[in-house]
């Protein structure tokens, strides 16, 4: 029984092994906002800055150059200015428990 339980856990989909993730963001996922000066991602536990980060891309998939800062449990992207259109944030974070989580969300910039 124990063995089958552990094997079931091992064979289960990735989220079973995953850990703390993105709690919220500003702009929020799927939001429509005016050009933001900052994009902030808040995580549910402390991050390891060496292995955490985020990037921004436009609707064509082209990466937008931004400076990023990883804090205790947040990542901040500082885009210069964003033209109206759809954008995607890809993020990855590693907590003190060494577990890596990754994801993405989109938002729209309106005139």
């Amino acid at each position: 029984m124990l063995l089958s339980m552990l094997l079931a856990a091992t064979a289960a989909s990735t989220p079973v092994w995953a850990h703390a993730g993105l709690k919220s963001s500003d702009p929020a996922a799927n939001a429509s906002v005016k050009s933001p000066s900052l994009i902030r991602l808040f995580f549910s536990e402390s991050l390891e800055p060496a292995f955490s980060g985020a990037s921004l891309s436009d609707a064509t998939g082209k990466t937008i150059p931004v400076s990023a800062a990883v804090g205790a449990s947040a990542i901040t992207l500082m885009p210069l200015s964003l033209k109206p259109g759809a954008y995607k944030v890809d993020w990855h974070g590693v907590g003190h428990d060494t577990h890596r989580v990754a994801g993405s969300f989109t938002f729209k910039v309106i005139p």
Partner: protein, 276 residues
């Protein structure tokens, strides 16, 4: 196999090995101080095996953690892990503690006990209990988890010492058993209390619904711990007054086996996502 499953195994084996080391050294020292009539217990084979296993499991744990965090295993990723992450920095301290144990392991005095405790308890700082603690209470969560690990270690390692005494047909084994019972009762009380607090901080609050897999593994762990408590109570309150040391030794062996499985399950719990 999923690297997370390997990491769960490495973590469980590391805990099992360091618990045996710490509990063996601590209870042996206690026997030496309180029961000088019993010749020193120096279970060399078990101590050296546990130390070697702890070192190997720690390296396997580091390897899987590096791959998990960096997505690759190369010199740069290893260097970044051991110098820039909390887990890596504590890994170095744990390895130093294990290496420092080599010259003092045979004698088994207080420095050896403290080094084994360091190696056992430090992973608490990167545990679920620490991560799930409210802001500002991370140190408290880590400390409670460290107490949980240390008391479990005393219980499991102490049982191994008792079995060693039984194997060498120690005539005063019931004195040692009585001493163990006194201290183990305190250890088990602390173990259960810290376990309940840890489980509450990990699973309760606004963290979402509990994961069924996590709950299932936790339930099996709790059932086994309950079985260990029944065996311990049977030994202490029924068999000890009747001096039935053969049955006591058999129960202690069963208790120790269940304890090792519990520790391996704890290794898996440390890897599983507690809430959805």
């Amino acid at each position: 196999m999923d690297p997370s499953a390997i990491q769960a195994g490495a973590r469980g084996l590391y805990y099992a090995a360091t618990m045996l080391l710490f509990g063996d050294l601590a209870f042996s020292l206690l026997i030496r101080a309180k029961l000088p009539i019993i010749p020193p217990t120096r279970n060399r084979w078990m101590r050296w095996s546990a130390l070697a296993l702890a070192g190997a499991a720690a390296l396997a744990w580091l390897t899987t953690a590096v791959v998990g965090m960096a997505g690759t295993f190369d010199q740069q990723a290893v260097t970044a892990t051991v110098t820039l992450t909390l887990f890596g920095q504590l890994f170095l301290v744990r390895m130093l503690a294990l290496v420092a144990l080599v010259p003092v392991l045979r004698r088994g005095a207080m420095p050896a006990v403290l080094l084994a405790l360091t190696a056992l308890a430090l992973p608490a700082a990167t545990s679920h209990a620490a991560a799930a603690s409210p802001a500002g209470f991370t140190v408290l969560g880590a400390s409670l988890d460290a107490v949980h690990l240390a008391t479990a270690g005393f219980w499991i390692g102490g049982l191994a010492v008792l079995l060693g005494l039984h194997r060498r047909k120690e005539p005063n084994i019931l004195l040692a058993l009585s001493l163990f019972s006194e201290w183990a009762m305190i250890a088990v009380l602390l173990l259960v209390m810290t376990g309940l607090i840890n489980a509450a901080s990990i699973l309760l609050g606004d963290k979402g619904a509990a994961s069924l897999v996590y709950l299932a593994v936790l339930s099996v762990k709790l059932v086994l711990v309950a079985g260990m408590l029944v065996l311990a109570a049977m030994n202490r309150f029924r068999l000890m007054p009747q001096n039935r040391d053969q049955t006591i030794a058999r129960n202690a062996a069963m208790e120790l086996s269940a304890g090792i499985i519990v520790v391996l399950l704890a290794g898996a719990l440390g890897q599983l996502q507690p809430t959805l």
